[in-house]
Protein backbone atom coordinates (compact mmCIF):
# COMPACT_ATOMS: atom_id res chain seq x y z
CA UNK A 1 0.00 0.00 0.00
CA UNK A 2 2.65 2.47 1.04
CA UNK A 3 4.93 1.49 -1.83
CA UNK A 4 2.08 2.06 -4.24
CA UNK A 5 1.36 5.46 -2.70
CA UNK A 6 5.01 6.37 -3.02
CA UNK A 7 4.96 5.42 -6.68
CA UNK A 8 1.92 7.62 -7.26
CA UNK A 9 3.73 10.47 -5.49
CA UNK A 10 6.63 10.17 -7.91
CA UNK A 11 4.21 10.30 -10.82
CA UNK A 12 2.72 13.54 -9.52
CA UNK A 13 6.05 15.31 -9.10
CA UNK A 14 7.70 13.82 -12.21
CA UNK A 15 6.35 16.27 -14.84
CA UNK A 16 7.53 19.29 -12.87
CA UNK A 17 10.91 17.74 -12.08
CA UNK A 18 11.57 16.72 -15.70
CA UNK A 19 10.99 20.26 -16.95
CA UNK A 20 12.88 21.61 -13.95
CA UNK A 21 15.95 19.55 -14.83
CA UNK A 22 15.74 20.31 -18.55
CA UNK A 23 15.17 24.06 -18.24
CA UNK A 24 17.04 24.92 -15.06
CA UNK A 25 19.59 22.32 -14.03
CA UNK A 26 20.90 21.53 -17.51
CA UNK A 27 21.40 25.19 -18.60
CA UNK A 28 23.08 25.94 -15.31
CA UNK A 29 25.42 22.97 -15.69
CA UNK A 30 26.05 23.89 -19.32
CA UNK A 31 26.97 27.44 -18.34
CA UNK A 32 29.38 26.00 -15.79
CA UNK A 33 30.88 23.72 -18.44
CA UNK A 34 31.21 26.44 -21.09
CA UNK A 35 32.83 28.78 -18.63
CA UNK A 36 35.84 26.46 -18.42
CA UNK A 37 36.77 26.89 -22.09
CA UNK A 38 38.02 29.62 -24.34
CA UNK A 39 37.62 30.01 -28.06
CA UNK A 40 40.67 31.27 -29.91
CA UNK A 41 41.24 32.22 -33.51
CA UNK A 42 44.12 29.83 -33.65
CA UNK A 43 43.72 26.44 -32.06
CA UNK A 44 39.93 26.44 -31.63
CA UNK A 45 38.30 25.85 -28.27
CA UNK A 46 40.63 24.95 -25.45
CA UNK A 47 40.14 24.04 -21.82
CA UNK A 48 41.37 26.88 -19.64
CA UNK A 49 40.20 25.83 -16.19
CA UNK A 50 39.18 28.79 -14.07
CA UNK A 51 40.86 31.40 -16.27
CA UNK A 52 37.53 32.99 -17.25
CA UNK A 53 36.68 33.42 -13.57
CA UNK A 54 40.05 34.96 -12.83
CA UNK A 55 39.44 37.33 -15.72
CA UNK A 56 35.92 38.13 -14.46
CA UNK A 57 37.04 38.88 -10.93
CA UNK A 58 39.62 41.34 -12.19
CA UNK A 59 37.42 42.79 -14.96
CA UNK A 60 36.85 46.40 -14.03
CA UNK A 61 33.84 46.74 -16.29
CA UNK A 62 32.10 43.81 -14.60
CA UNK A 63 33.02 44.96 -11.11
CA UNK A 64 31.81 48.47 -11.94
CA UNK A 65 28.45 47.03 -13.00
CA UNK A 66 28.19 44.91 -9.86
CA UNK A 67 28.91 47.93 -7.67
CA UNK A 68 26.32 49.93 -9.57
CA UNK A 69 23.54 47.36 -9.06
CA UNK A 70 24.59 47.01 -5.41
CA UNK A 71 24.16 50.78 -5.03
CA UNK A 72 20.84 50.54 -6.85
CA UNK A 73 19.74 47.80 -4.44
CA UNK A 74 20.73 49.83 -1.37
CA UNK A 75 18.84 52.91 -2.57
CA UNK A 76 15.80 51.47 -4.29
CA UNK A 77 14.81 48.41 -2.27
CA UNK A 78 14.45 50.11 1.15
CA UNK A 79 12.31 52.86 -0.39
CA UNK A 80 10.11 50.38 -2.21
CA UNK A 81 9.67 48.01 0.74
CA UNK A 82 9.01 50.82 3.23
CA UNK A 83 6.41 52.34 0.91
CA UNK A 84 4.83 48.92 0.36
CA UNK A 85 4.80 48.28 4.11
CA UNK A 86 3.30 51.69 4.86
CA UNK A 87 0.58 51.22 2.24
CA UNK A 88 -0.23 47.70 3.48
CA UNK A 89 -0.52 48.91 7.08
CA UNK A 90 -2.66 51.87 6.01
CA UNK A 91 -5.01 49.60 4.05
CA UNK A 92 -5.19 47.07 6.85
CA UNK A 93 -5.91 49.71 9.51
CA UNK A 94 -9.39 50.12 8.07
CA UNK A 95 -9.36 53.90 8.47
CA UNK A 96 -9.10 54.75 4.76
CA UNK A 97 -11.88 55.90 2.57
CA UNK A 98 -11.79 54.39 -0.95
CA UNK A 99 -9.44 51.67 0.26
CA UNK A 100 -10.34 49.19 -2.49
CA UNK A 101 -9.77 51.81 -5.17
CA UNK A 102 -6.45 52.83 -3.61
CA UNK A 103 -5.31 49.22 -3.31
CA UNK A 104 -6.00 48.41 -6.93
CA UNK A 105 -4.65 51.73 -8.18
CA UNK A 106 -1.30 51.26 -6.47
CA UNK A 107 -1.12 47.67 -7.74
CA UNK A 108 -1.97 48.39 -11.39
CA UNK A 109 1.61 49.28 -12.50
CA UNK A 110 2.63 45.69 -11.71
CA UNK A 111 0.51 44.58 -14.67
CA UNK A 112 2.42 46.96 -16.97
CA UNK A 113 5.37 45.29 -18.74
CA UNK A 114 8.70 46.77 -17.69
CA UNK A 115 9.40 47.54 -21.34
CA UNK A 116 6.35 49.75 -21.52
CA UNK A 117 7.07 51.28 -18.10
CA UNK A 118 10.56 52.19 -19.29
CA UNK A 119 9.23 53.63 -22.57
CA UNK A 120 6.68 55.74 -20.71
CA UNK A 121 9.04 57.05 -18.08
CA UNK A 122 11.68 57.65 -20.71
CA UNK A 123 9.28 59.98 -22.43
CA UNK A 124 8.21 61.62 -19.16
CA UNK A 125 11.88 62.20 -18.31
CA UNK A 126 12.62 63.74 -21.73
CA UNK A 127 14.69 66.90 -21.22
CA UNK A 128 13.02 68.83 -24.03
CA UNK A 129 9.48 67.56 -24.57
CA UNK A 130 8.72 65.60 -21.40
CA UNK A 131 6.00 66.83 -19.04
CA UNK A 132 8.48 67.10 -16.16
CA UNK A 133 10.65 69.48 -18.18
CA UNK A 134 7.52 71.32 -19.35
CA UNK A 135 6.36 71.80 -15.76
CA UNK A 136 9.79 72.97 -14.67
CA UNK A 137 9.85 75.40 -17.59
CA UNK A 138 6.39 76.75 -16.70
CA UNK A 139 7.62 77.41 -13.17
CA UNK A 140 10.73 79.09 -14.52
CA UNK A 141 13.01 76.40 -13.11
CA UNK A 142 15.84 74.70 -14.96
CA UNK A 143 14.74 71.23 -16.09
CA UNK A 144 16.58 68.51 -14.18
CA UNK A 145 18.58 66.28 -16.51
CA UNK A 146 16.92 63.03 -15.45
CA UNK A 147 18.74 61.11 -18.17
CA UNK A 148 22.15 62.51 -17.24
CA UNK A 149 25.03 60.78 -15.54
CA UNK A 150 24.18 61.98 -12.04
CA UNK A 151 20.49 61.18 -11.96
CA UNK A 152 20.22 58.12 -14.22
CA UNK A 153 20.47 55.54 -11.44
CA UNK A 154 17.80 57.40 -9.49
CA UNK A 155 15.61 57.64 -12.60
CA UNK A 156 15.92 53.87 -13.08
CA UNK A 157 15.19 53.31 -9.37
CA UNK A 158 12.04 55.39 -9.78
CA UNK A 159 10.82 53.20 -12.65
CA UNK A 160 11.39 49.98 -10.68
CA UNK A 161 9.75 51.49 -7.58
CA UNK A 162 6.76 52.53 -9.66
CA UNK A 163 6.45 49.01 -11.07
CA UNK A 164 6.86 46.91 -7.94
CA UNK A 165 5.69 48.86 -4.88
CA UNK A 166 2.11 47.71 -5.47
CA UNK A 167 3.18 44.09 -5.77
CA UNK A 168 5.02 44.23 -2.45
CA UNK A 169 2.09 46.05 -0.89
CA UNK A 170 -0.25 43.25 -1.95
CA UNK A 171 2.05 40.52 -0.61
CA UNK A 172 2.32 42.30 2.75
CA UNK A 173 -1.36 43.17 2.83
CA UNK A 174 -2.30 39.54 2.16
CA UNK A 175 -0.05 38.47 5.02
CA UNK A 176 -1.65 41.06 7.35
CA UNK A 177 -5.13 39.81 6.54
CA UNK A 178 -4.04 36.39 7.68
CA UNK A 179 -2.90 37.50 11.15
CA UNK A 180 -5.21 35.77 13.63
CA UNK A 181 -7.60 38.28 15.18
CA UNK A 182 -6.91 36.94 18.71
CA UNK A 183 -3.55 38.70 18.48
CA UNK A 184 -5.27 42.03 17.94
CA UNK A 185 -7.74 41.37 20.73
CA UNK A 186 -4.91 40.56 23.09
CA UNK A 187 -3.16 43.79 22.10
CA UNK A 188 -6.37 45.76 22.59
CA UNK A 189 -6.84 44.21 26.06
CA UNK A 190 -3.31 45.32 26.86
CA UNK A 191 -4.34 48.84 25.90
CA UNK A 192 -2.23 49.10 22.73
CA UNK A 193 -3.27 51.83 20.28
CA UNK A 194 -3.18 51.71 16.49
CA UNK A 195 0.50 52.58 16.10
CA UNK A 196 1.56 50.38 18.99
CA UNK A 197 -0.36 47.44 17.53
CA UNK A 198 1.22 48.03 14.14
CA UNK A 199 4.71 48.08 15.62
CA UNK A 200 4.43 45.24 18.14
CA UNK A 201 1.95 42.87 16.53
CA UNK A 202 1.67 43.48 12.81
CA UNK A 203 5.27 44.03 11.79
CA UNK A 204 6.59 40.93 13.62
CA UNK A 205 3.80 38.91 12.00
CA UNK A 206 4.92 40.21 8.62
CA UNK A 207 8.46 38.96 9.00
CA UNK A 208 8.18 35.93 6.65
CA UNK A 209 6.42 38.00 4.00
CA UNK A 210 8.97 40.82 4.30
CA UNK A 211 11.80 38.33 3.98
CA UNK A 212 10.20 36.91 0.84
CA UNK A 213 9.80 40.39 -0.64
CA UNK A 214 13.41 41.20 0.23
CA UNK A 215 14.72 38.04 -1.45
CA UNK A 216 12.77 38.76 -4.62
CA UNK A 217 14.07 42.33 -4.57
CA UNK A 218 17.68 41.15 -4.29
CA UNK A 219 17.17 38.87 -7.27
CA UNK A 220 15.44 41.62 -9.24
CA UNK A 221 18.07 44.28 -8.52
CA UNK A 222 21.08 42.19 -9.38
CA UNK A 223 19.65 41.01 -12.68
CA UNK A 224 18.51 44.50 -13.72
CA UNK A 225 18.33 44.55 -17.53
CA UNK A 226 15.11 45.71 -19.23
CA UNK A 227 14.97 49.26 -17.89
CA UNK A 228 18.61 50.22 -18.53
CA UNK A 229 18.58 48.45 -21.90
CA UNK A 230 15.67 50.61 -23.05
CA UNK A 231 17.10 53.78 -21.51
CA UNK A 232 20.34 53.12 -23.34
CA UNK A 233 18.79 54.46 -26.55
CA UNK A 234 17.84 57.72 -24.90
CA UNK A 235 21.18 58.16 -23.17
CA UNK A 236 23.85 56.10 -24.94
CA UNK A 237 26.63 58.12 -23.36
CA UNK A 238 25.40 57.46 -19.84
CA UNK A 239 24.48 53.76 -20.09
CA UNK A 240 27.30 51.80 -21.67
CA UNK A 241 27.31 48.10 -22.52
CA UNK A 242 28.49 47.20 -18.99
CA UNK A 243 26.12 49.43 -17.02
CA UNK A 244 24.70 46.37 -15.24
CA UNK A 245 26.24 42.85 -15.11
CA UNK A 246 23.37 41.48 -17.16
CA UNK A 247 23.77 44.08 -19.89
CA UNK A 248 27.44 43.14 -19.92
CA UNK A 249 26.75 39.41 -20.22
CA UNK A 250 24.30 40.14 -23.01
CA UNK A 251 26.75 42.24 -24.97
CA UNK A 252 29.54 39.70 -24.39
CA UNK A 253 27.41 36.89 -25.76
CA UNK A 254 25.73 38.66 -28.66
CA UNK A 255 27.96 41.56 -29.63
CA UNK A 256 31.43 40.24 -28.82
CA UNK A 257 30.45 36.61 -29.53
CA UNK A 258 32.48 35.60 -26.48
CA UNK A 259 30.06 32.96 -25.19
CA UNK A 260 32.53 31.26 -22.88
CA UNK A 261 33.28 34.41 -20.97
CA UNK A 262 29.59 35.39 -21.06
CA UNK A 263 28.76 32.01 -19.49
CA UNK A 264 31.29 32.62 -16.74
CA UNK A 265 29.81 36.07 -16.05
CA UNK A 266 26.25 34.65 -15.98
CA UNK A 267 27.34 31.84 -13.70
CA UNK A 268 29.13 34.19 -11.32
CA UNK A 269 26.16 36.55 -11.26
CA UNK A 270 23.79 33.69 -10.42
CA UNK A 271 26.15 32.47 -7.73
CA UNK A 272 26.46 35.96 -6.23
CA UNK A 273 22.68 36.31 -6.07
CA UNK A 274 22.24 32.93 -4.38
CA UNK A 275 24.99 33.72 -1.85
CA UNK A 276 23.57 37.16 -1.00
CA UNK A 277 20.03 35.75 -0.71
CA UNK A 278 21.15 32.94 1.61
CA UNK A 279 23.19 35.32 3.74
CA UNK A 280 20.21 37.62 4.17
CA UNK A 281 17.98 34.69 5.09
CA UNK A 282 20.46 33.38 7.63
CA UNK A 283 20.91 36.83 9.15
CA UNK A 284 17.15 37.38 9.45
CA UNK A 285 16.45 33.94 10.85
CA UNK A 286 19.25 34.16 13.39
CA UNK A 287 17.83 37.39 14.73
CA UNK A 288 14.42 35.81 15.04
CA UNK A 289 15.66 33.21 17.56
CA UNK A 290 17.57 35.18 20.17
Amino acid sequence: MNARRARVGYLFVAPFLIVFVAMLVVPLAYAGYLSLFREQLIGGTTFVGLDNYVRALTDERLLGGVLRVAEFFLIQVPIMLLLGLFFALALDSGVLWLSRFIRLGVFVPYAVPSVIAALMWGYLYGPEFGPIAQLAGALGLPAPNLLGDDLMLGSLANIVTWEFTGYNMIILYAALRAVPSELYEAAAVDGAGTWRTAWSVKIPALRPALLLALIFSIIGSFQLFNEPQLMQRLAPNVIDSAYTPNLYAYSLAFTSQDVNYAAAVSFLLGLAIVVVSYTVQLAVNRRRTP
Binding site: G166, A174, F225
Partner: protein, 287 residues
Protein backbone atom coordinates in the same frame (compact mmCIF):
# COMPACT_ATOMS: atom_id res chain seq x y z
CA UNK B 1 -15.27 41.13 15.63
CA UNK B 2 -14.95 42.69 19.02
CA UNK B 3 -17.88 44.90 19.83
CA UNK B 4 -16.13 47.98 21.15
CA UNK B 5 -13.97 48.62 18.09
CA UNK B 6 -15.33 51.48 16.10
CA UNK B 7 -12.93 52.59 13.43
CA UNK B 8 -12.98 56.24 12.69
CA UNK B 9 -11.96 57.03 9.11
CA UNK B 10 -8.92 59.20 8.76
CA UNK B 11 -9.07 62.02 6.21
CA UNK B 12 -5.37 62.78 6.63
CA UNK B 13 -4.24 59.24 5.84
CA UNK B 14 -6.74 59.01 2.98
CA UNK B 15 -5.42 62.23 1.45
CA UNK B 16 -1.84 61.04 1.82
CA UNK B 17 -2.69 57.78 0.08
CA UNK B 18 -4.51 59.62 -2.70
CA UNK B 19 -1.39 61.74 -3.24
CA UNK B 20 0.64 58.55 -3.67
CA UNK B 21 -2.06 57.19 -5.95
CA UNK B 22 -1.53 60.18 -8.25
CA UNK B 23 2.10 59.11 -8.62
CA UNK B 24 1.12 55.56 -9.54
CA UNK B 25 -1.61 56.51 -11.97
CA UNK B 26 -0.13 59.63 -13.60
CA UNK B 27 2.12 57.77 -16.09
CA UNK B 28 -0.88 55.70 -17.17
CA UNK B 29 -2.94 58.86 -17.52
CA UNK B 30 -0.14 60.27 -19.67
CA UNK B 31 -0.29 57.13 -21.81
CA UNK B 32 -4.03 57.51 -22.35
CA UNK B 33 -3.64 61.17 -23.25
CA UNK B 34 -0.66 60.53 -25.50
CA UNK B 35 -2.47 57.82 -27.45
CA UNK B 36 -4.90 60.46 -28.70
CA UNK B 37 -2.19 62.67 -30.18
CA UNK B 38 -0.37 63.06 -33.46
CA UNK B 39 3.42 63.06 -33.53
CA UNK B 40 3.41 66.83 -33.77
CA UNK B 41 1.22 67.18 -30.69
CA UNK B 42 3.29 64.59 -28.78
CA UNK B 43 6.17 67.05 -28.96
CA UNK B 44 4.31 70.31 -29.20
CA UNK B 45 1.48 70.18 -26.68
CA UNK B 46 1.46 69.89 -22.90
CA UNK B 47 2.08 66.22 -22.09
CA UNK B 48 -0.53 65.77 -19.41
CA UNK B 49 -3.53 67.10 -21.25
CA UNK B 50 -5.33 66.46 -24.53
CA UNK B 51 -4.45 68.39 -27.67
CA UNK B 52 -6.99 69.92 -30.04
CA UNK B 53 -6.84 67.05 -32.50
CA UNK B 54 -8.25 63.76 -31.23
CA UNK B 55 -6.38 61.22 -33.31
CA UNK B 56 -6.95 58.02 -31.31
CA UNK B 57 -9.12 56.44 -34.04
CA UNK B 58 -6.48 57.31 -36.63
CA UNK B 59 -3.70 55.94 -34.41
CA UNK B 60 -5.62 52.71 -33.88
CA UNK B 61 -6.31 52.35 -37.58
CA UNK B 62 -2.65 52.80 -38.39
CA UNK B 63 -1.60 50.47 -35.56
CA UNK B 64 -3.58 47.60 -37.03
CA UNK B 65 -2.76 48.21 -40.68
CA UNK B 66 0.80 49.50 -41.02
CA UNK B 67 3.77 47.25 -41.64
CA UNK B 68 1.52 44.40 -42.78
CA UNK B 69 -0.53 44.61 -39.58
CA UNK B 70 2.40 43.18 -37.63
CA UNK B 71 1.15 44.65 -34.34
CA UNK B 72 -1.90 42.39 -34.28
CA UNK B 73 0.46 39.50 -34.86
CA UNK B 74 2.58 40.56 -31.88
CA UNK B 75 -0.46 40.76 -29.62
CA UNK B 76 -1.55 37.31 -30.73
CA UNK B 77 1.96 35.90 -30.17
CA UNK B 78 2.08 37.39 -26.70
CA UNK B 79 -1.32 35.95 -25.84
CA UNK B 80 -0.33 32.49 -27.08
CA UNK B 81 3.06 32.44 -25.34
CA UNK B 82 1.58 33.76 -22.11
CA UNK B 83 -1.49 31.53 -21.98
CA UNK B 84 0.31 28.30 -22.90
CA UNK B 85 3.18 29.03 -20.50
CA UNK B 86 0.93 30.05 -17.64
CA UNK B 87 -1.47 27.16 -18.07
CA UNK B 88 1.38 24.66 -18.30
CA UNK B 89 3.30 26.15 -15.37
CA UNK B 90 0.22 26.22 -13.15
CA UNK B 91 -0.65 22.62 -14.00
CA UNK B 92 2.90 21.37 -13.39
CA UNK B 93 3.02 23.30 -10.12
CA UNK B 94 -0.37 21.97 -8.99
CA UNK B 95 0.54 18.35 -9.75
CA UNK B 96 3.96 18.68 -8.17
CA UNK B 97 2.84 20.73 -5.18
CA UNK B 98 0.12 18.19 -4.38
CA UNK B 99 2.60 15.34 -4.85
CA UNK B 100 5.14 16.90 -2.50
CA UNK B 101 2.48 17.85 0.06
CA UNK B 102 0.54 14.59 0.30
CA UNK B 103 2.85 11.72 -0.67
CA UNK B 104 5.72 10.90 1.70
CA UNK B 105 7.89 9.15 -0.90
CA UNK B 106 11.60 8.64 -0.41
CA UNK B 107 13.56 11.76 -1.34
CA UNK B 108 10.55 14.05 -0.97
CA UNK B 109 12.32 16.52 1.34
CA UNK B 110 15.59 16.53 -0.59
CA UNK B 111 13.96 17.08 -3.98
CA UNK B 112 11.71 19.80 -2.63
CA UNK B 113 14.70 21.48 -0.99
CA UNK B 114 16.47 21.48 -4.33
CA UNK B 115 13.52 23.20 -6.00
CA UNK B 116 13.32 25.75 -3.16
CA UNK B 117 16.99 26.60 -3.63
CA UNK B 118 16.31 27.22 -7.30
CA UNK B 119 13.88 30.05 -6.50
CA UNK B 120 16.95 32.19 -6.07
CA UNK B 121 18.56 31.31 -9.39
CA UNK B 122 17.97 34.38 -11.55
CA UNK B 123 16.18 33.62 -14.78
CA UNK B 124 18.43 35.89 -16.81
CA UNK B 125 21.52 33.92 -15.75
CA UNK B 126 19.86 30.92 -17.40
CA UNK B 127 18.83 32.72 -20.56
CA UNK B 128 22.21 32.76 -22.30
CA UNK B 129 23.07 29.06 -21.72
CA UNK B 130 19.48 28.11 -22.62
CA UNK B 131 19.89 30.06 -25.84
CA UNK B 132 23.09 28.19 -26.66
CA UNK B 133 21.43 24.82 -26.02
CA UNK B 134 18.35 25.76 -28.03
CA UNK B 135 20.56 26.95 -30.88
CA UNK B 136 22.09 23.47 -31.09
CA UNK B 137 18.78 21.61 -31.10
CA UNK B 138 17.07 24.02 -33.51
CA UNK B 139 14.60 25.54 -31.07
CA UNK B 140 15.82 29.12 -31.48
CA UNK B 141 13.36 31.26 -33.45
CA UNK B 142 10.39 29.08 -32.57
CA UNK B 143 7.58 29.70 -30.06
CA UNK B 144 8.97 26.84 -27.94
CA UNK B 145 12.04 28.93 -27.17
CA UNK B 146 9.76 31.23 -25.16
CA UNK B 147 7.29 28.68 -23.80
CA UNK B 148 9.55 25.88 -22.55
CA UNK B 149 11.71 27.99 -20.18
CA UNK B 150 8.58 29.67 -18.82
CA UNK B 151 7.03 26.36 -17.73
CA UNK B 152 9.30 26.09 -14.69
CA UNK B 153 8.13 28.17 -11.77
CA UNK B 154 9.84 27.01 -8.55
CA UNK B 155 8.01 29.62 -6.50
CA UNK B 156 4.74 28.40 -7.97
CA UNK B 157 5.55 24.87 -6.84
CA UNK B 158 6.32 26.13 -3.35
CA UNK B 159 3.06 28.06 -3.25
CA UNK B 160 1.04 25.06 -4.42
CA UNK B 161 2.66 22.77 -1.85
CA UNK B 162 1.77 25.16 0.96
CA UNK B 163 -1.68 25.54 -0.46
CA UNK B 164 -2.24 21.80 -0.84
CA UNK B 165 -1.17 21.22 2.76
CA UNK B 166 -3.70 23.77 3.99
CA UNK B 167 -6.61 23.25 1.68
CA UNK B 168 -6.73 19.48 1.05
CA UNK B 169 -7.78 17.49 4.14
CA UNK B 170 -6.28 14.00 4.41
CA UNK B 171 -9.63 12.62 5.57
CA UNK B 172 -11.22 13.64 2.28
CA UNK B 173 -8.52 11.83 0.32
CA UNK B 174 -8.92 8.72 2.47
CA UNK B 175 -12.68 8.75 1.96
CA UNK B 176 -12.27 9.03 -1.80
CA UNK B 177 -9.76 6.17 -1.79
CA UNK B 178 -12.09 3.96 0.23
CA UNK B 179 -14.76 4.69 -2.36
CA UNK B 180 -12.35 3.16 -4.84
CA UNK B 181 -11.48 6.32 -6.79
CA UNK B 182 -8.13 6.26 -8.60
CA UNK B 183 -5.43 8.73 -7.57
CA UNK B 184 -5.62 10.80 -10.73
CA UNK B 185 -9.38 10.90 -10.66
CA UNK B 186 -9.18 12.15 -7.08
CA UNK B 187 -6.79 14.84 -8.26
CA UNK B 188 -8.98 15.88 -11.16
CA UNK B 189 -12.31 15.85 -9.40
CA UNK B 190 -11.52 16.71 -5.79
CA UNK B 191 -8.08 18.21 -5.34
CA UNK B 192 -7.99 20.57 -8.29
CA UNK B 193 -11.16 22.28 -7.11
CA UNK B 194 -9.76 22.78 -3.62
CA UNK B 195 -6.54 24.17 -5.08
CA UNK B 196 -8.34 26.66 -7.34
CA UNK B 197 -7.23 29.91 -5.62
CA UNK B 198 -3.59 28.76 -5.57
CA UNK B 199 -3.89 27.57 -9.15
CA UNK B 200 -5.25 30.92 -10.30
CA UNK B 201 -2.50 32.73 -8.40
CA UNK B 202 0.28 30.77 -10.09
CA UNK B 203 -1.52 31.11 -13.42
CA UNK B 204 -1.83 34.89 -13.13
CA UNK B 205 1.69 35.54 -11.96
CA UNK B 206 3.21 33.31 -14.64
CA UNK B 207 0.94 35.06 -17.11
CA UNK B 208 2.36 38.41 -16.04
CA UNK B 209 5.93 37.11 -16.12
CA UNK B 210 5.54 35.74 -19.65
CA UNK B 211 3.44 38.65 -20.91
CA UNK B 212 6.13 41.04 -19.67
CA UNK B 213 9.06 38.90 -20.74
CA UNK B 214 11.62 40.82 -22.74
CA UNK B 215 15.11 39.39 -22.23
CA UNK B 216 14.27 35.85 -23.33
CA UNK B 217 12.41 36.72 -26.57
CA UNK B 218 14.99 39.40 -27.30
CA UNK B 219 17.75 36.81 -27.49
CA UNK B 220 15.71 33.84 -28.76
CA UNK B 221 13.85 35.40 -31.68
CA UNK B 222 14.98 37.39 -34.69
CA UNK B 223 11.95 36.90 -36.89
CA UNK B 224 9.63 39.91 -36.39
CA UNK B 225 6.52 37.86 -37.05
CA UNK B 226 7.34 35.76 -33.96
CA UNK B 227 7.98 38.73 -31.66
CA UNK B 228 5.84 39.29 -28.61
CA UNK B 229 4.52 42.78 -28.19
CA UNK B 230 7.30 43.85 -25.78
CA UNK B 231 10.13 43.19 -28.24
CA UNK B 232 8.13 44.59 -31.14
CA UNK B 233 7.34 47.85 -29.36
CA UNK B 234 10.94 48.21 -28.15
CA UNK B 235 12.09 47.89 -31.77
CA UNK B 236 9.62 50.49 -32.93
CA UNK B 237 10.69 52.78 -30.11
CA UNK B 238 14.30 52.35 -31.13
CA UNK B 239 13.54 53.28 -34.73
CA UNK B 240 11.46 56.25 -33.54
CA UNK B 241 14.31 57.61 -31.43
CA UNK B 242 16.93 56.77 -34.06
CA UNK B 243 15.58 59.41 -36.42
CA UNK B 244 12.10 60.39 -37.46
CA UNK B 245 12.17 60.64 -41.23
CA UNK B 246 13.65 57.34 -42.28
CA UNK B 247 11.71 55.29 -39.78
CA UNK B 248 8.37 56.80 -40.67
CA UNK B 249 5.91 58.17 -38.21
CA UNK B 250 6.02 55.38 -35.62
CA UNK B 251 5.91 57.26 -32.31
CA UNK B 252 2.08 57.37 -32.09
CA UNK B 253 2.10 53.65 -32.88
CA UNK B 254 4.48 52.95 -29.97
CA UNK B 255 2.28 54.93 -27.59
CA UNK B 256 -1.07 53.55 -28.74
CA UNK B 257 0.37 50.03 -28.98
CA UNK B 258 1.67 50.30 -25.43
CA UNK B 259 -1.71 51.36 -24.11
CA UNK B 260 -3.52 48.56 -25.91
CA UNK B 261 -1.10 45.87 -24.79
CA UNK B 262 -1.54 46.54 -21.08
CA UNK B 263 -5.34 46.43 -21.10
CA UNK B 264 -5.78 42.61 -21.10
CA UNK B 265 -3.54 42.05 -18.06
CA UNK B 266 -5.06 44.87 -16.06
CA UNK B 267 -8.50 43.47 -16.84
CA UNK B 268 -7.43 39.95 -15.84
CA UNK B 269 -6.12 41.17 -12.49
CA UNK B 270 -9.24 43.17 -11.75
CA UNK B 271 -11.60 40.34 -12.64
CA UNK B 272 -9.72 37.62 -10.79
CA UNK B 273 -8.70 39.61 -7.71
CA UNK B 274 -10.71 37.49 -5.28
CA UNK B 275 -8.69 34.44 -6.27
CA UNK B 276 -5.16 35.74 -6.34
CA UNK B 277 -5.47 37.72 -3.12
CA UNK B 278 -6.49 34.53 -1.29
CA UNK B 279 -3.81 32.52 -3.01
CA UNK B 280 -1.09 34.99 -2.07
CA UNK B 281 -2.15 35.04 1.55
CA UNK B 282 -1.33 31.33 1.85
CA UNK B 283 2.12 31.69 0.32
CA UNK B 284 3.24 34.74 2.23
CA UNK B 285 2.35 33.63 5.73
CA UNK B 286 3.92 30.19 5.85
CA UNK B 287 7.63 29.95 5.63
Amino acid sequence: MTSGRIRRRSPVLTLAMLAFLVYFLLPLFWLVVASTKTTGDLFGSFGLWFADDFSLPENLRRLFTEQDAVYGRWLLNTAIYALVSAGGAALLAALGGYGFAKFPFRGNKALFGMVLGAIMVPSTALAIPTYLIFAQVGLVNTPWAIILPSLVNPFGLYLMRVYAQEAVPDSLLEAARIDGAGEFRIFRQVVLRLLAPGFVTVLLFTLVATWNNYFLPLIMLNNPSLYPVTVGLANWAASASAGGGAAGDVLPLVVTGSLLSIIPLVAAFLMLQRYWQNGLAAGSVKQ
